[in-house]
Symmetry: C2
Subunit: 293 residues, 2 copies
């Protein structure tokens, strides 16, 4: 069973210039669920100064119409964010760290070593509240400041996160530089230490390689893939990082490969087309464009 | 050794609304060669009524500055086209046919069965003039009118083309619907009848699967891939068929996989950025966008 984690509301909207009203986000969540999305990262409890687009995290999360078959997820950067998240019905949290020192510094304003205790505290307390925590590792396949990232460093960070008690690590190609053999090499190495259920992949399509990297990950045995409606996304602290892998493009490929996800591509495209109207701009998903020119 | 056949000047420009002056096309050919392109389809000797964008085929082909390390190719639909082509220094010709009856009818105005003798005549006469002929088969992975295309029909057409004496068949996903398993299945079947040197692949990126299909083809042993600068392309008789696989995106992946092509990605992007200025519009290659926002 392949699990698709929809991250557009978080990783996507946080990079949009336009502030989307909370009621539109609520409608978006609902439409995604109607299209068959079961895993959805709805927001981030970072400080609103850093990501004003998600400043309504508390409101949005509190007003969700919780569907029993759906897992609602949110990003939680630190203890303060955790306290906010715990007041909402969000099921599952995610902490984040970069594999490269400079990106971590720019993104979190801390060294990698300084970041661990912050995450440790979040994970420990979340678990006390019976919440599962995912770990995101950014810049796994390349850093906008440092270039290539040492795989040993990636393995070390994943080990530290696992030791803290995260149940899964999502490996991020934050700036979309990864190519298939690199993905295969990294996953082969990581799958020596971790099971395929403990790893997820999170590709950006900046250089058009998102889908082929997803394909290679499936071939390696990965069963959880992150994607973003319409290909929304980027990273404010990673210059040139445009667009996550589009959920539509991923589902089109999975459908064609006979891999069932329960997600209805037509409804998904209707949803992203509706979102395009809300954002007043075209999204980058190619499958979306094949439905709506 | 992987061979990239640049088809942007033909398959790309024939779908552009703007008529590009011959001297700009000449400059484009030269810039592509400077970037390391060795196989280049420069034009098509179809009747100008059908493809006015390539009405300057004779002029363009006659005025080429022939580089001894480069193979110049052109599409030749029939005897009349062949006579025109033979008056130019073009090295290699290509004939075309569709795998689906309706697309062939709309594209060539003949049934598949009626098309064979026309191609037979071109191939026979071209060979008398010591010219190699490639065969294009369109709609191999799906037809805009008929949907799925029977693989047996594809095999039959390829056999007929090979019997005529084409040295290579380029398998076209004309409307960009193919997914990886389908490509693997088709190539596995075709590679039972033909050697990998006799087959090329020609993907369109309409649904974002161009690159992953190219990857799967490489895995199957295919060594010749068609692509189009900037992702130019489409098909006038295939509704919704946008953009060939972009040469930049293909080269980026091949570079990352350590596969040498002799093509310089930076120079290629400079060339497509220059072409964007000539066309007055942005091209779809993601790698190009990562160089020039």
């Amino acid at each position: 069973m392949i699990q698709v984690v929809e991250v557009g509301l978080r990783d996507g909207l946080q990079n949009e210039k336009l502030m989307i009203p909370t009621h539109v986000k609520q409608r978006l969540v609902q439409r995604l669920i109607n299209a068959g999305i079961k895993e959805i990262e709805v927001t981030s409890f970072v400080h609103p100064t850093w990501v004003p687009q998600l400043a309504d995290a508390d409101l949005l999360a509190s007003q969700l119409h919780i569907d029993p078959g759906v897992t609602y997820r949110a990003l939680v950067p630190n203890r303060k964010g955790l306290e906010r998240a715990l007041r909402t019905p969000i099921h599952e949290y995610a902490v984040f760290i970069s594999a490269s020192e400079t990106h971590n510094q720019k993104n979190i304003n801390k060294s990698i070593e300084e970041t661990f205790p912050v995450l440790q505290e979040v994970v420990a307390e979340a678990k006390q509240h019976q919440k599962r925590v995912r770990g995101y590792v950014s810049t796994v396949f390349g850093c906008p400041y440092e270039g290539k990232v040492d795989l040993k460093q990636v393995v070390m960070i994943c080990e530290r996160l696992m030791d803290m008690g995260v149940y899964e690590i999502s490996l991020g190609d934050t700036i979309g530089v990864a190519t298939p053999n690199q993905v295969k090499e990294a996953l082969t190495e990581l799958l020596r230490q971790f099971s395929s259920e403990q790893l997820a992949v999170h590709f950006h399509d900046t250089r058009g390689t998102g889908l082929v990297n997803a394909y290679v990950s499936l071939e390696c045995g990965i069963t959880t893939l992150d994607s973003s409606l319409g290909g929304l996304g980027g990273c404010p602290y990673a210059p040139g990082a445009t667009g996550n892998l589009a959920t539509e493009d991923l589902i089109y490929m999975l459908d064609g490969m006979g891999i069932k996800t329960g997600i209805n591509l037509e409804e998904l495209c209707q949803t992203s087309h509706w979102l395009e109207e809300q954002l007043g701009k075209k999204l980058s998903s190619k499958v979306l464009r094949s439905y709506f020119q």
